[in-house]
Protein backbone atom coordinates (compact mmCIF):
# COMPACT_ATOMS: atom_id res chain seq x y z
CA UNK A 1 0.00 0.00 0.00
CA UNK A 2 2.91 2.33 0.67
CA UNK A 3 3.81 2.77 -3.00
CA UNK A 4 0.18 3.25 -3.99
CA UNK A 5 -0.34 5.93 -1.35
CA UNK A 6 2.83 7.76 -2.37
CA UNK A 7 1.67 7.80 -6.00
CA UNK A 8 -1.80 8.93 -4.94
CA UNK A 9 -0.36 11.79 -2.87
CA UNK A 10 1.85 12.91 -5.76
CA UNK A 11 -0.94 12.80 -8.36
CA UNK A 12 -3.36 14.65 -6.07
CA UNK A 13 -0.84 17.37 -5.20
CA UNK A 14 0.29 17.92 -8.79
CA UNK A 15 -2.80 17.38 -10.89
CA UNK A 16 -5.89 17.60 -8.68
CA UNK A 17 -4.90 20.28 -6.16
CA UNK A 18 -8.40 20.67 -4.77
CA UNK A 19 -9.15 16.94 -4.36
CA UNK A 20 -8.06 14.76 -1.41
CA UNK A 21 -5.64 11.95 -2.36
CA UNK A 22 -8.15 9.34 -1.14
CA UNK A 23 -10.51 10.20 -4.02
CA UNK A 24 -7.99 8.72 -6.46
CA UNK A 25 -8.85 5.05 -6.62
CA UNK A 26 -6.43 2.29 -7.62
CA UNK A 27 -8.09 1.77 -11.00
CA UNK A 28 -9.05 5.33 -11.93
CA UNK A 29 -7.58 6.23 -15.37
CA UNK A 30 -5.20 9.13 -14.92
CA UNK A 31 -3.74 9.74 -18.36
CA UNK A 32 -6.38 8.44 -20.76
CA UNK A 33 -8.95 10.48 -18.81
CA UNK A 34 -6.94 13.68 -19.28
CA UNK A 35 -6.11 14.25 -15.59
CA UNK A 36 -2.40 13.99 -16.43
CA UNK A 37 -1.21 15.38 -19.79
CA UNK A 38 2.02 14.59 -21.64
CA UNK A 39 4.07 17.15 -19.72
CA UNK A 40 2.51 15.81 -16.52
CA UNK A 41 3.59 12.29 -17.54
CA UNK A 42 7.20 13.44 -17.63
CA UNK A 43 6.80 14.87 -14.12
CA UNK A 44 5.29 11.60 -12.95
CA UNK A 45 8.17 9.57 -14.42
CA UNK A 46 10.68 11.98 -12.84
CA UNK A 47 8.97 11.48 -9.49
CA UNK A 48 8.96 7.68 -9.80
CA UNK A 49 12.57 7.46 -10.98
CA UNK A 50 13.92 9.73 -8.26
CA UNK A 51 11.76 8.33 -5.43
CA UNK A 52 12.62 4.67 -6.09
CA UNK A 53 16.07 5.18 -7.62
CA UNK A 54 15.23 3.46 -10.89
CA UNK A 55 15.64 4.42 -14.54
CA UNK A 56 13.30 3.30 -17.27
CA UNK A 57 14.31 2.37 -20.80
CA UNK A 58 12.22 2.80 -23.99
CA UNK A 59 9.39 0.22 -24.19
CA UNK A 60 9.40 -0.26 -20.41
CA UNK A 61 6.95 2.57 -19.87
CA UNK A 62 4.00 3.89 -21.83
CA UNK A 63 0.62 5.50 -21.30
CA UNK A 64 -1.00 2.14 -20.53
CA UNK A 65 1.52 1.20 -17.83
CA UNK A 66 1.25 4.62 -16.17
CA UNK A 67 -2.52 5.04 -16.43
CA UNK A 68 -3.65 3.89 -12.97
CA UNK A 69 -2.18 3.81 -9.47
CA UNK A 70 -2.41 0.01 -9.56
CA UNK A 71 -0.43 -0.28 -12.82
CA UNK A 72 2.16 2.24 -11.68
CA UNK A 73 2.79 0.13 -8.59
CA UNK A 74 3.17 -3.01 -10.75
CA UNK A 75 5.62 -1.15 -12.96
CA UNK A 76 7.71 0.03 -10.02
CA UNK A 77 7.73 -3.40 -8.35
CA UNK A 78 8.79 -5.10 -11.61
CA UNK A 79 11.63 -2.62 -12.02
CA UNK A 80 12.71 -2.96 -8.38
CA UNK A 81 12.70 -6.76 -8.53
CA UNK A 82 14.66 -6.60 -11.81
CA UNK A 83 17.21 -4.42 -10.09
CA UNK A 84 17.44 -6.85 -7.16
CA UNK A 85 18.08 -9.70 -9.63
CA UNK A 86 20.75 -7.64 -11.38
CA UNK A 87 22.44 -7.03 -8.04
CA UNK A 88 22.34 -10.75 -7.20
CA UNK A 89 23.83 -11.55 -10.59
CA UNK A 90 26.56 -8.99 -10.04
CA UNK A 91 27.27 -10.41 -6.56
CA UNK A 92 27.59 -13.94 -7.99
CA UNK A 93 30.02 -12.82 -10.69
Amino acid sequence: MKIRNEIREFVASQFLPDAPAATITDTMPLITSGIIDSIGMLGLVDFIESSYTIEFMPREIDVHKLDTVERIETLIRAKLSGRAEDQEQAALQ
Partner: protein, 494 residues
Amino acid sequence: MPAPEGHLLHEWLRQSAAAHPHALAIVEEERTTSFAELLQQAEALAGLFCQLGIQPCDCIALALPKTSEAIVAVFAALLAGVLYVPIHPGWPQERVDAILEECGALLMIRGEGEALRILDLRTRQSLAWTAATEAVEPAMLPRIEPEDSAFILFTSGSTGRPKGVELSHRAVSAFVRWTAEEFKIGPGDRIACPSPLGFDLSTFDIFNMALCGATVVLVPDHIAWMPRFLVQFVREARISCWYSVPSILAGMVRDGRMAAHSYPHLRLILFAGEVFPAPALAALQAVVPNALCANLYGPTETNVVTWCRVPEGFDGQQPLPIGRPCPYAAVRIDESNGELLAGGDSLMRGYWNRPEETAGRMVTLDGIPYYRTGDRVVLAPEGDYLYLGRLDRQIKRRGFRIELGEIEAALLSHADILEAAVVAVANPRQSVCIAAFVRLSAPDTMTMTDIKTHCGRRLPTYMLPDRILFVDAIAKGGRGKTDYLALGKMLEGL
Protein backbone atom coordinates in the same frame (compact mmCIF):
# COMPACT_ATOMS: atom_id res chain seq x y z
CA MET B 1 21.43 13.55 -60.04
CA PRO B 2 18.98 16.41 -60.72
CA ALA B 3 16.01 16.76 -58.36
CA PRO B 4 12.65 15.64 -59.73
CA GLU B 5 10.74 18.22 -61.72
CA GLY B 6 7.30 19.69 -61.30
CA HIS B 7 5.00 20.28 -58.37
CA LEU B 8 3.19 16.94 -58.09
CA LEU B 9 4.19 15.32 -54.81
CA HIS B 10 3.64 11.73 -55.99
CA GLU B 11 5.55 12.38 -59.23
CA TRP B 12 8.58 13.16 -57.08
CA LEU B 13 8.28 9.67 -55.60
CA ARG B 14 7.99 8.12 -59.09
CA GLN B 15 11.10 9.96 -60.27
CA SER B 16 13.10 9.12 -57.12
CA ALA B 17 12.05 5.46 -57.35
CA ALA B 18 13.31 5.38 -60.96
CA ALA B 19 16.57 7.15 -60.09
CA HIS B 20 17.50 5.16 -56.97
CA PRO B 21 15.02 2.28 -56.50
CA HIS B 22 16.99 0.47 -53.80
CA ALA B 23 17.82 3.46 -51.62
CA LEU B 24 16.00 3.63 -48.30
CA ALA B 25 12.91 5.80 -48.30
CA ILE B 26 11.68 4.90 -44.81
CA VAL B 27 13.36 3.51 -41.71
CA GLU B 28 11.00 2.46 -38.93
CA GLU B 29 13.03 0.82 -36.17
CA GLU B 30 14.22 -2.49 -37.70
CA ARG B 31 11.95 -2.20 -40.77
CA THR B 32 13.08 -0.49 -43.93
CA THR B 33 11.24 0.41 -47.15
CA SER B 34 13.07 1.23 -50.37
CA PHE B 35 11.83 3.80 -52.87
CA ALA B 36 10.81 1.03 -55.26
CA GLU B 37 8.86 -0.79 -52.54
CA LEU B 38 7.19 2.41 -51.38
CA LEU B 39 6.05 3.25 -54.91
CA GLN B 40 4.86 -0.29 -55.61
CA GLN B 41 2.83 -0.44 -52.37
CA ALA B 42 1.39 3.04 -52.89
CA GLU B 43 0.36 2.26 -56.49
CA ALA B 44 -1.30 -0.95 -55.35
CA LEU B 45 -3.29 0.84 -52.67
CA ALA B 46 -4.18 3.64 -55.09
CA GLY B 47 -5.55 0.94 -57.41
CA LEU B 48 -7.62 -0.44 -54.57
CA PHE B 49 -9.10 3.01 -53.96
CA CYS B 50 -10.07 3.15 -57.65
CA GLN B 51 -11.62 -0.34 -57.47
CA LEU B 52 -13.67 0.78 -54.47
CA GLY B 53 -15.12 3.55 -56.61
CA ILE B 54 -13.26 6.40 -54.93
CA GLN B 55 -13.02 9.31 -57.37
CA PRO B 56 -10.50 12.16 -57.59
CA CYS B 57 -11.34 14.91 -55.07
CA ASP B 58 -13.15 12.49 -52.74
CA CYS B 59 -11.81 12.39 -49.17
CA ILE B 60 -10.36 9.48 -47.26
CA ALA B 61 -9.40 9.57 -43.59
CA LEU B 62 -6.05 8.23 -42.40
CA ALA B 63 -6.54 7.37 -38.73
CA LEU B 64 -2.99 6.10 -38.43
CA PRO B 65 0.06 6.81 -36.35
CA LYS B 66 3.01 7.99 -38.45
CA THR B 67 4.17 4.56 -39.62
CA SER B 68 5.51 3.17 -42.92
CA GLU B 69 1.93 2.18 -43.80
CA ALA B 70 0.73 5.72 -43.19
CA ILE B 71 3.31 7.05 -45.65
CA VAL B 72 2.27 4.41 -48.20
CA ALA B 73 -1.34 5.56 -47.72
CA VAL B 74 -0.36 9.22 -48.16
CA PHE B 75 1.27 8.54 -51.53
CA ALA B 76 -1.55 6.17 -52.55
CA ALA B 77 -4.06 8.95 -51.95
CA LEU B 78 -1.94 11.42 -53.92
CA LEU B 79 -1.54 8.97 -56.83
CA ALA B 80 -5.32 8.44 -56.92
CA GLY B 81 -6.01 12.17 -56.72
CA VAL B 82 -7.87 11.59 -53.47
CA LEU B 83 -7.64 14.11 -50.62
CA TYR B 84 -6.31 12.52 -47.47
CA VAL B 85 -7.38 13.72 -44.06
CA PRO B 86 -5.03 12.73 -41.21
CA ILE B 87 -6.79 11.82 -37.98
CA HIS B 88 -4.70 11.33 -34.87
CA PRO B 89 -5.42 7.88 -33.41
CA GLY B 90 -5.49 9.41 -29.92
CA TRP B 91 -8.28 11.87 -30.65
CA PRO B 92 -11.58 11.25 -28.87
CA GLN B 93 -14.36 9.64 -30.90
CA GLU B 94 -16.59 12.73 -30.87
CA ARG B 95 -13.89 14.82 -32.51
CA VAL B 96 -13.18 12.08 -35.07
CA ASP B 97 -16.90 11.84 -35.90
CA ALA B 98 -17.13 15.63 -36.30
CA ILE B 99 -14.20 15.61 -38.74
CA LEU B 100 -15.52 12.64 -40.74
CA GLU B 101 -18.86 14.41 -41.05
CA GLU B 102 -17.26 17.72 -41.98
CA CYS B 103 -15.07 16.28 -44.76
CA GLY B 104 -17.48 13.58 -45.93
CA ALA B 105 -14.74 10.92 -46.02
CA LEU B 106 -15.71 7.76 -47.90
CA LEU B 107 -13.01 5.49 -46.48
CA MET B 108 -11.09 5.38 -43.26
CA ILE B 109 -7.82 3.49 -42.89
CA ARG B 110 -7.01 2.56 -39.33
CA GLY B 111 -5.14 0.06 -37.20
CA GLU B 112 -1.49 -0.88 -37.06
CA GLY B 113 0.87 -3.43 -38.61
CA GLU B 114 -0.90 -6.68 -39.47
CA ALA B 115 -4.23 -5.35 -38.28
CA LEU B 116 -4.60 -2.57 -40.84
CA ARG B 117 -8.16 -2.22 -42.06
CA ILE B 118 -9.93 -0.12 -44.64
CA LEU B 119 -13.37 0.82 -43.40
CA ASP B 120 -15.81 1.77 -46.16
CA LEU B 121 -17.84 4.51 -44.48
CA ARG B 122 -20.60 4.21 -47.10
CA THR B 123 -21.35 0.55 -46.41
CA ARG B 124 -19.65 0.17 -42.97
CA GLN B 125 -17.83 -2.85 -44.45
CA SER B 126 -14.25 -3.38 -43.46
CA LEU B 127 -11.51 -5.06 -45.49
CA ALA B 128 -7.94 -5.97 -44.69
CA TRP B 129 -5.11 -4.12 -46.34
CA THR B 130 -1.73 -5.72 -46.72
CA ALA B 131 1.37 -4.66 -48.58
CA ALA B 132 0.83 -7.70 -50.82
CA THR B 133 -2.18 -6.11 -52.51
CA GLU B 134 -1.74 -6.51 -56.25
CA ALA B 135 -0.32 -3.70 -58.33
CA VAL B 136 -2.47 -1.66 -60.66
CA GLU B 137 -1.82 -0.31 -64.14
CA PRO B 138 -0.62 3.27 -63.71
CA ALA B 139 -2.86 4.15 -66.68
CA MET B 140 -5.89 3.52 -64.43
CA LEU B 141 -4.88 6.41 -62.22
CA PRO B 142 -6.21 9.88 -62.96
CA ARG B 143 -4.26 12.85 -64.25
CA ILE B 144 -3.54 15.35 -61.47
CA GLU B 145 -2.70 19.04 -61.85
CA PRO B 146 -0.52 21.09 -59.47
CA GLU B 147 -3.51 23.24 -58.47
CA ASP B 148 -5.46 20.14 -57.38
CA SER B 149 -5.85 19.58 -53.66
CA ALA B 150 -3.55 17.14 -51.93
CA PHE B 151 -4.85 16.94 -48.36
CA ILE B 152 -6.87 18.60 -45.63
CA LEU B 153 -5.42 19.37 -42.19
CA PHE B 154 -7.91 19.98 -39.42
CA THR B 155 -7.17 22.63 -36.81
CA SER B 156 -8.99 23.96 -33.78
CA GLY B 157 -12.09 26.05 -34.59
CA SER B 158 -13.25 28.88 -32.32
CA THR B 159 -16.91 27.95 -32.72
CA GLY B 160 -16.34 24.51 -31.24
CA ARG B 161 -15.93 22.54 -34.47
CA PRO B 162 -12.51 21.84 -36.01
CA LYS B 163 -12.03 23.35 -39.49
CA GLY B 164 -10.18 21.80 -42.43
CA VAL B 165 -7.37 23.63 -44.23
CA GLU B 166 -7.30 22.46 -47.87
CA LEU B 167 -3.85 22.54 -49.47
CA SER B 168 -2.85 21.98 -53.09
CA HIS B 169 0.17 20.14 -54.48
CA ARG B 170 1.60 23.50 -55.56
CA ALA B 171 1.27 24.98 -52.06
CA VAL B 172 3.12 22.07 -50.46
CA SER B 173 5.67 22.00 -53.26
CA ALA B 174 6.55 25.68 -52.74
CA PHE B 175 7.63 25.02 -49.17
CA VAL B 176 9.32 21.66 -49.75
CA ARG B 177 11.28 22.78 -52.82
CA TRP B 178 12.51 25.82 -50.94
CA THR B 179 13.71 23.79 -47.93
CA ALA B 180 15.44 21.29 -50.25
CA GLU B 181 17.36 24.07 -51.95
CA GLU B 182 18.03 26.37 -48.98
CA PHE B 183 19.16 23.55 -46.67
CA LYS B 184 20.73 21.38 -49.40
CA ILE B 185 18.81 18.24 -48.55
CA GLY B 186 20.03 15.21 -50.46
CA PRO B 187 20.11 11.39 -50.68
CA GLY B 188 22.52 11.04 -47.75
CA ASP B 189 20.22 12.82 -45.31
CA ARG B 190 18.31 11.04 -42.57
CA ILE B 191 15.35 13.20 -41.66
CA ALA B 192 13.36 12.94 -38.43
CA CYS B 193 10.21 14.88 -37.74
CA PRO B 194 8.31 13.67 -34.68
CA SER B 195 5.17 15.61 -35.65
CA PRO B 196 2.08 13.55 -36.45
CA LEU B 197 0.74 13.46 -40.03
CA GLY B 198 -1.95 16.00 -39.26
CA PHE B 199 0.60 18.63 -38.38
CA ASP B 200 1.90 20.80 -41.25
CA LEU B 201 5.47 20.23 -40.03
CA SER B 202 5.06 16.67 -41.25
CA THR B 203 5.15 17.79 -44.90
CA PHE B 204 8.87 18.45 -44.49
CA ASP B 205 10.17 14.93 -43.93
CA ILE B 206 7.76 12.93 -46.07
CA PHE B 207 8.01 15.11 -49.15
CA ASN B 208 11.70 15.91 -48.91
CA MET B 209 12.22 12.17 -48.92
CA ALA B 210 10.32 11.94 -52.21
CA LEU B 211 11.90 15.05 -53.74
CA CYS B 212 15.52 14.62 -52.65
CA GLY B 213 15.86 10.87 -52.24
CA ALA B 214 16.53 11.36 -48.51
CA THR B 215 15.53 8.83 -45.87
CA VAL B 216 12.69 9.46 -43.41
CA VAL B 217 13.53 7.96 -40.02
CA LEU B 218 10.25 7.55 -38.15
CA VAL B 219 10.18 8.36 -34.46
CA PRO B 220 8.33 5.52 -32.70
CA ASP B 221 5.60 6.51 -30.24
CA HIS B 222 7.35 4.80 -27.35
CA ILE B 223 10.32 7.13 -27.91
CA ALA B 224 8.58 10.35 -28.91
CA TRP B 225 7.08 11.29 -25.56
CA MET B 226 10.23 11.13 -23.45
CA PRO B 227 13.03 13.71 -23.99
CA ARG B 228 15.72 11.32 -22.74
CA PHE B 229 14.67 8.61 -25.23
CA LEU B 230 14.50 11.14 -28.07
CA VAL B 231 18.06 12.31 -27.44
CA GLN B 232 19.26 8.72 -27.55
CA PHE B 233 17.26 8.18 -30.77
CA VAL B 234 18.81 11.21 -32.53
CA ARG B 235 22.27 9.91 -31.69
CA GLU B 236 21.79 6.22 -32.45
CA ALA B 237 19.68 6.74 -35.61
CA ARG B 238 22.32 9.20 -36.93
CA ILE B 239 19.72 11.85 -37.68
CA SER B 240 21.05 14.64 -39.90
CA CYS B 241 17.95 16.85 -40.27
CA TRP B 242 15.40 17.51 -37.56
CA TYR B 243 12.18 19.53 -37.65
CA SER B 244 9.87 19.89 -34.65
CA VAL B 245 8.14 22.34 -32.38
CA PRO B 246 10.46 24.15 -29.95
CA SER B 247 8.86 22.46 -26.89
CA ILE B 248 10.31 19.11 -27.93
CA LEU B 249 13.80 20.53 -28.50
CA ALA B 250 13.69 22.55 -25.27
CA GLY B 251 12.65 19.39 -23.41
CA MET B 252 15.55 17.44 -24.96
CA VAL B 253 18.05 20.04 -23.75
CA ARG B 254 16.42 20.58 -20.35
CA ASP B 255 15.27 17.08 -19.37
CA GLY B 256 16.97 14.79 -21.87
CA ARG B 257 20.61 15.17 -20.83
CA MET B 258 21.35 16.29 -24.39
CA ALA B 259 24.49 18.15 -23.33
CA ALA B 260 26.08 14.89 -22.14
CA HIS B 261 26.76 13.73 -25.72
CA SER B 262 27.81 15.02 -29.13
CA TYR B 263 25.81 14.74 -32.36
CA PRO B 264 28.24 14.69 -35.28
CA HIS B 265 25.57 13.76 -37.85
CA LEU B 266 23.06 16.42 -36.86
CA ARG B 267 23.58 19.29 -39.30
CA LEU B 268 20.16 20.94 -39.51
CA ILE B 269 17.62 21.78 -36.81
CA LEU B 270 14.44 23.52 -37.89
CA PHE B 271 11.67 24.54 -35.54
CA ALA B 272 8.25 26.13 -35.94
CA GLY B 273 4.84 26.33 -34.37
CA GLU B 274 5.49 28.48 -31.31
CA VAL B 275 8.00 30.88 -29.80
CA PHE B 276 11.26 29.19 -28.77
CA PRO B 277 12.19 30.69 -25.38
CA ALA B 278 15.45 32.48 -26.20
CA PRO B 279 17.54 31.08 -23.28
CA ALA B 280 16.50 27.50 -24.15
CA LEU B 281 17.43 28.12 -27.80
CA ALA B 282 20.85 29.43 -26.76
CA ALA B 283 21.32 26.28 -24.67
CA LEU B 284 20.41 24.08 -27.67
CA GLN B 285 22.84 25.89 -29.95
CA ALA B 286 25.61 25.43 -27.40
CA VAL B 287 24.99 21.65 -27.46
CA VAL B 288 25.07 21.41 -31.29
CA PRO B 289 27.39 24.27 -32.30
CA ASN B 290 27.95 22.89 -35.80
CA ALA B 291 24.30 22.47 -36.73
CA LEU B 292 22.42 25.14 -38.67
CA CYS B 293 19.42 26.15 -36.55
CA ALA B 294 16.54 28.09 -38.07
CA ASN B 295 13.17 29.39 -36.94
CA LEU B 296 10.39 28.85 -39.48
CA TYR B 297 7.14 30.78 -39.17
CA GLY B 298 3.72 30.33 -40.72
CA PRO B 299 0.20 29.16 -39.84
CA THR B 300 -1.24 25.93 -41.29
CA GLU B 301 -3.18 28.07 -43.81
CA THR B 302 0.04 29.21 -45.52
CA ASN B 303 2.66 26.80 -44.20
CA VAL B 304 6.02 28.53 -43.66
CA VAL B 305 6.20 32.09 -45.00
CA THR B 306 9.10 33.67 -43.09
CA TRP B 307 12.27 32.27 -41.62
CA CYS B 308 15.29 33.28 -39.61
CA ARG B 309 18.63 31.57 -39.18
CA VAL B 310 19.79 31.49 -35.55
CA PRO B 311 22.97 33.61 -35.54
CA GLU B 312 26.20 31.94 -34.43
CA GLY B 313 26.81 32.47 -30.73
CA PHE B 314 23.17 33.40 -30.08
CA ASP B 315 23.19 34.53 -26.45
CA GLY B 316 19.47 34.24 -25.69
CA GLN B 317 19.23 37.81 -24.43
CA GLN B 318 16.78 38.90 -27.15
CA PRO B 319 13.88 36.99 -28.69
CA LEU B 320 14.61 35.56 -32.13
CA PRO B 321 12.74 37.30 -35.00
CA ILE B 322 10.38 35.29 -37.21
CA GLY B 323 12.63 36.66 -39.92
CA ARG B 324 12.25 37.49 -43.59
CA PRO B 325 9.87 36.20 -46.25
CA CYS B 326 10.60 32.92 -48.03
CA PRO B 327 11.07 33.49 -51.79
CA TYR B 328 7.64 32.02 -52.66
CA ALA B 329 5.75 34.03 -50.04
CA ALA B 330 3.99 37.39 -50.14
CA VAL B 331 4.04 39.05 -46.73
CA ARG B 332 2.89 42.48 -45.52
CA ILE B 333 1.51 44.20 -42.45
CA ASP B 334 -2.02 45.57 -42.09
CA GLU B 335 -1.08 49.00 -40.77
CA SER B 336 -4.45 49.42 -39.04
CA ASN B 337 -3.80 46.74 -36.43
CA GLY B 338 -0.28 45.43 -36.98
CA GLU B 339 -1.55 42.07 -38.28
CA LEU B 340 0.72 40.01 -40.50
CA LEU B 341 -0.89 39.16 -43.84
CA ALA B 342 0.55 36.14 -45.62
CA GLY B 343 0.06 34.86 -49.15
CA GLY B 344 2.00 33.54 -52.10
CA ASP B 345 2.43 30.08 -53.58
CA SER B 346 2.01 28.20 -50.28
CA LEU B 347 -1.42 29.73 -49.49
CA MET B 348 -4.28 27.30 -48.80
CA ARG B 349 -7.15 26.88 -51.23
CA GLY B 350 -9.52 27.60 -48.36
CA TYR B 351 -11.33 26.01 -45.44
CA TRP B 352 -13.00 22.82 -46.61
CA ASN B 353 -16.70 23.45 -47.31
CA ARG B 354 -16.65 26.78 -45.47
CA PRO B 355 -16.57 29.51 -48.13
CA GLU B 356 -17.84 32.17 -45.73
CA GLU B 357 -15.20 31.45 -43.12
CA THR B 358 -12.55 31.43 -45.87
CA ALA B 359 -13.76 34.80 -47.17
CA GLY B 360 -13.71 36.16 -43.62
CA ARG B 361 -10.03 35.35 -43.19
CA MET B 362 -8.83 36.44 -46.63
CA VAL B 363 -8.12 39.88 -48.02
CA THR B 364 -6.95 40.85 -51.52
CA LEU B 365 -4.53 43.77 -51.78
CA ASP B 366 -3.01 44.95 -55.05
CA GLY B 367 -4.45 41.86 -56.68
CA ILE B 368 -2.72 39.45 -54.28
CA PRO B 369 -4.79 37.28 -51.91
CA TYR B 370 -3.56 37.21 -48.31
CA TYR B 371 -4.53 35.20 -45.26
CA ARG B 372 -5.09 37.24 -42.10
CA THR B 373 -2.81 35.39 -39.68
CA GLY B 374 -4.14 37.02 -36.50
CA ASP B 375 -0.49 37.45 -35.47
CA ARG B 376 0.64 40.93 -34.49
CA VAL B 377 4.11 41.75 -35.80
CA VAL B 378 6.44 44.67 -36.36
CA LEU B 379 9.06 45.13 -39.06
CA ALA B 380 12.44 45.85 -37.49
CA PRO B 381 14.77 48.39 -39.17
CA GLU B 382 17.07 45.53 -40.24
CA GLY B 383 14.21 44.03 -42.28
CA ASP B 384 13.19 41.17 -39.97
CA TYR B 385 9.64 40.65 -38.77
CA LEU B 386 9.28 40.38 -35.00
CA TYR B 387 6.37 38.48 -33.47
CA LEU B 388 4.51 40.46 -30.79
CA GLY B 389 1.48 38.31 -29.96
CA ARG B 390 -2.04 37.37 -31.04
CA LEU B 391 -4.94 39.61 -31.94
CA ASP B 392 -7.49 37.00 -30.84
CA ARG B 393 -7.87 34.20 -28.28
CA GLN B 394 -5.89 31.56 -30.15
CA ILE B 395 -2.98 30.09 -28.21
CA LYS B 396 -0.18 27.63 -28.88
CA ARG B 397 0.65 24.85 -26.48
CA ARG B 398 3.59 22.60 -27.35
CA GLY B 399 3.12 23.86 -30.91
CA PHE B 400 -0.52 22.78 -31.06
CA ARG B 401 -2.89 25.52 -32.09
CA ILE B 402 -5.81 25.92 -29.72
CA GLU B 403 -8.88 28.15 -29.95
CA LEU B 404 -9.94 28.73 -26.35
CA GLY B 405 -13.52 29.07 -27.63
CA GLU B 406 -13.47 25.40 -28.66
CA ILE B 407 -12.69 24.39 -25.06
CA GLU B 408 -15.54 26.61 -23.83
CA ALA B 409 -17.90 24.96 -26.34
CA ALA B 410 -16.86 21.51 -25.04
CA LEU B 411 -17.50 22.57 -21.43
CA LEU B 412 -20.87 24.10 -22.28
CA SER B 413 -22.01 20.89 -24.00
CA HIS B 414 -22.59 19.47 -20.47
CA ALA B 415 -26.05 20.19 -19.11
CA ASP B 416 -24.75 20.96 -15.60
CA ILE B 417 -22.35 23.65 -16.80
CA LEU B 418 -24.21 26.95 -17.17
CA GLU B 419 -21.28 29.21 -17.92
CA ALA B 420 -17.65 28.63 -18.83
CA ALA B 421 -14.73 30.89 -19.64
CA VAL B 422 -11.24 29.67 -20.52
CA VAL B 423 -8.01 31.63 -20.21
CA ALA B 424 -4.38 30.70 -20.75
CA VAL B 425 -1.44 31.88 -18.69
CA ALA B 426 2.29 31.15 -18.85
CA ASN B 427 3.52 28.54 -16.41
CA PRO B 428 6.99 28.01 -14.99
CA ARG B 429 7.85 25.03 -17.22
CA GLN B 430 7.90 27.40 -20.22
CA SER B 431 4.59 26.06 -21.37
CA VAL B 432 1.06 27.33 -21.09
CA CYS B 433 -1.47 26.61 -18.38
CA ILE B 434 -5.10 26.50 -19.49
CA ALA B 435 -7.60 27.39 -16.79
CA ALA B 436 -11.36 26.98 -17.03
CA PHE B 437 -13.74 29.03 -14.91
CA VAL B 438 -16.97 27.11 -14.53
CA ARG B 439 -20.38 27.99 -13.11
CA LEU B 440 -22.45 24.89 -12.35
CA SER B 441 -26.23 24.60 -12.32
CA ALA B 442 -26.01 23.73 -8.62
CA PRO B 443 -23.03 23.48 -6.26
CA ASP B 444 -21.26 20.09 -6.24
CA THR B 445 -23.16 18.62 -9.20
CA MET B 446 -19.78 17.94 -10.83
CA THR B 447 -16.27 17.33 -9.54
CA MET B 448 -13.08 18.48 -11.19
CA THR B 449 -12.51 14.91 -12.38
CA ASP B 450 -16.01 14.76 -13.91
CA ILE B 451 -15.26 17.90 -15.89
CA LYS B 452 -11.87 16.67 -17.08
CA THR B 453 -13.43 13.37 -18.13
CA HIS B 454 -16.25 15.17 -19.96
CA CYS B 455 -13.74 17.32 -21.87
CA GLY B 456 -11.53 14.28 -22.52
CA ARG B 457 -14.35 12.72 -24.56
CA ARG B 458 -14.47 15.74 -26.85
CA LEU B 459 -11.02 17.29 -27.03
CA PRO B 460 -7.48 16.04 -27.71
CA THR B 461 -5.39 15.86 -24.55
CA TYR B 462 -3.33 18.93 -25.46
CA MET B 463 -6.53 21.01 -25.27
CA LEU B 464 -7.66 19.83 -21.84
CA PRO B 465 -7.73 22.48 -19.07
CA ASP B 466 -5.03 22.09 -16.42
CA ARG B 467 -7.01 23.93 -13.81
CA ILE B 468 -10.71 24.12 -13.18
CA LEU B 469 -12.06 26.84 -10.93
CA PHE B 470 -15.63 26.70 -9.72
CA VAL B 471 -17.14 30.16 -9.45
CA ASP B 472 -20.54 31.62 -8.58
CA ALA B 473 -20.28 34.17 -11.39
CA ILE B 474 -17.94 34.82 -14.29
CA ALA B 475 -16.47 38.33 -14.45
CA LYS B 476 -18.18 40.48 -17.06
CA GLY B 477 -17.07 43.76 -18.59
CA GLY B 478 -19.06 46.35 -20.51
CA ARG B 479 -21.95 45.03 -22.69
CA GLY B 480 -21.99 41.87 -20.58
CA LYS B 481 -19.01 40.28 -22.36
CA THR B 482 -16.71 37.95 -20.44
CA ASP B 483 -13.82 39.93 -18.98
CA TYR B 484 -10.93 37.61 -19.85
CA LEU B 485 -8.36 40.13 -18.64
CA ALA B 486 -9.92 40.13 -15.17
CA LEU B 487 -10.03 36.31 -15.15
CA GLY B 488 -6.33 36.16 -16.09
CA LYS B 489 -5.53 38.54 -13.25
CA MET B 490 -7.53 36.36 -10.84
CA LEU B 491 -5.30 33.43 -11.78
CA GLU B 492 -2.14 35.38 -11.07
CA GLY B 493 -3.43 36.03 -7.56
CA LEU B 494 -4.11 32.32 -6.86
